[in-house]
Symmetry: C2
Subunit: 344 residues, 2 copies
């Protein structure tokens, strides 16, 4: 089958790999309908993170189950499924306590020995704990709305939930990438009173307007902090979503938080990323750093997506066949695309 | 009146200053019954933090109201009162929302223009919002139990509450100073299943045993992390109280936290203090940095203190007259005392 393999900085290829097949009795094989390229896929591609040998790529997909191991109970061939960004058994103490991303038998797509999802098919370990079946046979438009549940939409929701976004609260989102824009969608859905986006790229800011942002701040660092504070009567905002993930974005995120407020980092860098906690102590800031436990959120958000009330699919501003996946990485890398859809 | 003034590193003196008196209609004057020396008083004394001119010292006290401004309603002369580590108006949006340490009209004892509490008397701004009256005329033993409410006991409680300590949860406390030991007391009171203290000073560890700690870890850094993980079956603990406040203690605190767990820093340094948030993202650690809003906790904890169920007074292992306050700083500075009681 065809799958995406990163060989080194700037060198990503769609190439032939062994077909996905059942290896454990709890596995399923899923034929991919749609996958995507994520900002976190770019670390190795752009040479920021080390690439240790050829690596399968992609961690967001929806597909159709084609085969299941003999112990799989909750999905069967023909089911259309959403797969979260990590697999998990659904039964260990972490899964039971709502943290499937820390599952004792879980893992990430593309890790050594695991399939990536920018591929024709994927072997899914612990299929019962991992996959969420959706009703019927979604058309392409609905597939495009479902796919963001796998990562970015759930990530935005996670950031909003963990910073206690709710009616009456003010929100700032640092970063205008796909996760930041999904943070806007999530905050709007949760009833935020006012949402400020801090970003700089015109097409993304235009989309943020469509997604319901109230104010846009294009300056950076201290100037951005000053501007957000001015917009909020000096106090700063209740909830801050850092969807970028650098020392600078963290300082900005903490700087715009209201005393007693919450900051969530969902932008993962793979690099040491430092924050001066002394800037938080006197102000009682709660800081949450967390990859989204998307497996929890897929069932929660699915009804709103199916009903068309929650639609992150406009993020996909480029649509390529798997054989041209390298073009998608290039477009994400130079920011000419917000988010790239990959069709096998 | 006599009051403590820090003139520079190593130079702290009890000296004569103008008498405390009513300046605003919302002020009270409180004659100090007992005050204390806190670890955070040592920053300037030990030369770690800058000393910008002579500074009044002390932010923990109980006393007797001797005078009140014409707009004071909730305390009157003769009342014995506990004063939290910050004054606050009790009516602004931060106070109403439970964060009096961020009060719009609040401040810290010893700041420019404000009295310190290692003194014979203190002018208390916003007396109604700040002071908590206690019933009757407590004897010395009860006074010693009440005084820790002003700071260290409330700080330990704050750290325990913000890291969600409750029955069934495991707790690690980093640091065996007064706040760390109060963290042990608070965690025990809130029903923690198991409490591990990480410290190195024999008299403090002995007191920790009395306060109900289950395990003591004396190693540091990675060895300490390994030991706590071994004690907890590899998982780490649910709640971590960092009562020290350095880059190293933070790395240790994050290192012993269970995935999905909480870390609270209550040890204030006054210096930039850095944590690598990338070590938290994959594990969904919640980090709270916060000076305790003690004004909230005094009424909550008072009944247990009055009933003798919550007693941090054994921390006071040195008891000096105000005129000898420099001896108290010296003893805290060289760690020959855990916490020093100062009697005017």
């Amino acid at each position: 089958m065809l799958a995406t393999v990163l060989h080194g900085p700037g060198d990503v290829r769609a190439e032939t790999v062994p077909d996905a097949r059942i290896e454990q009795s709890t596995d399923a094989v899923v034929e991919v309908l749609l996958s995507a390229v994520c900002g976190t896929d770019l670390g190795g591609y752009l040479g920021v993170d080390p690439v240790r040998g050829p690596q399968r790529m992609g961690h967001e997909f929806i597909g159709v189950v084609t085969d299941v191991g003999r112990d799989v109970r909750t999905v069967c061939p023909g089911d259309v499924v959403v797969a979260p960004l990590a697999w998990s058994d659904g039964t260990c103490s972490f899964c039971v306590n709502g943290l499937p991303t820390s599952c004792r038998h879980g893992g990430l797509w593309g890790e050594a020995g695991a399939d990536g999802c920018q591929a024709e098919a994927v072997r899914v370990p612990h299929a019962d704990g991992t996959l969420v079946a959706v009703p019927g046979h979604p058309d392409f438009a609905l597939q495009s709305r479902l796919l963001p549940l796998a990562d970015v939409l759930s990530a935005g929701h996670h950031a909003a939930v963990t910073t206690d976004v709710r009616p009456g609260r003010t929100v700032a989102v640092v970063g205008d990438g796909a996760v930041g824009l999904c943070g806007v969608l999530a905050a709007r859905r949760l009833g935020a009173e006012r949402i400020i986006l801090m970003g700089a790229h015109a097409p993304r800011l235009a989309m943020a307007r469509k997604f319901g942002v109230d104010d846009i701040v294009v300056s950076r660092d201290q100037a951005a902090i000053d501007e957000v504070r001015e917009l909020t009567g000096g106090d700063g905002v209740d909830s801050v979503i850092d969807a970028f993930g650098s020392d600078q974005s963290l300082a900005t995120a903490v700087g715009v938080a209201k005393d007693g407020g919450g900051v969530c980092l969902v932008g993962v860098t793979g690099q040491p990323t430092w924050v001066d906690v002394n800037t938080m102590v006197r102000r009682n800031i709660t800081f949450r750093a967390g990859v989204a436990p998307t497996r929890n959120y897929v069932p929660e958000l699915l009804p709103a997506v199916l009903a068309g009330q929650l639609d992150a699919s406009p993020l996909f501003d480029m649509d390529i066949p798997l054989s041209s996946v390298a073009d998608g990485y290039a477009a994400m890398g130079d920011r000419s695309a917000i988010k790239v859809l990959v069709r096998p």
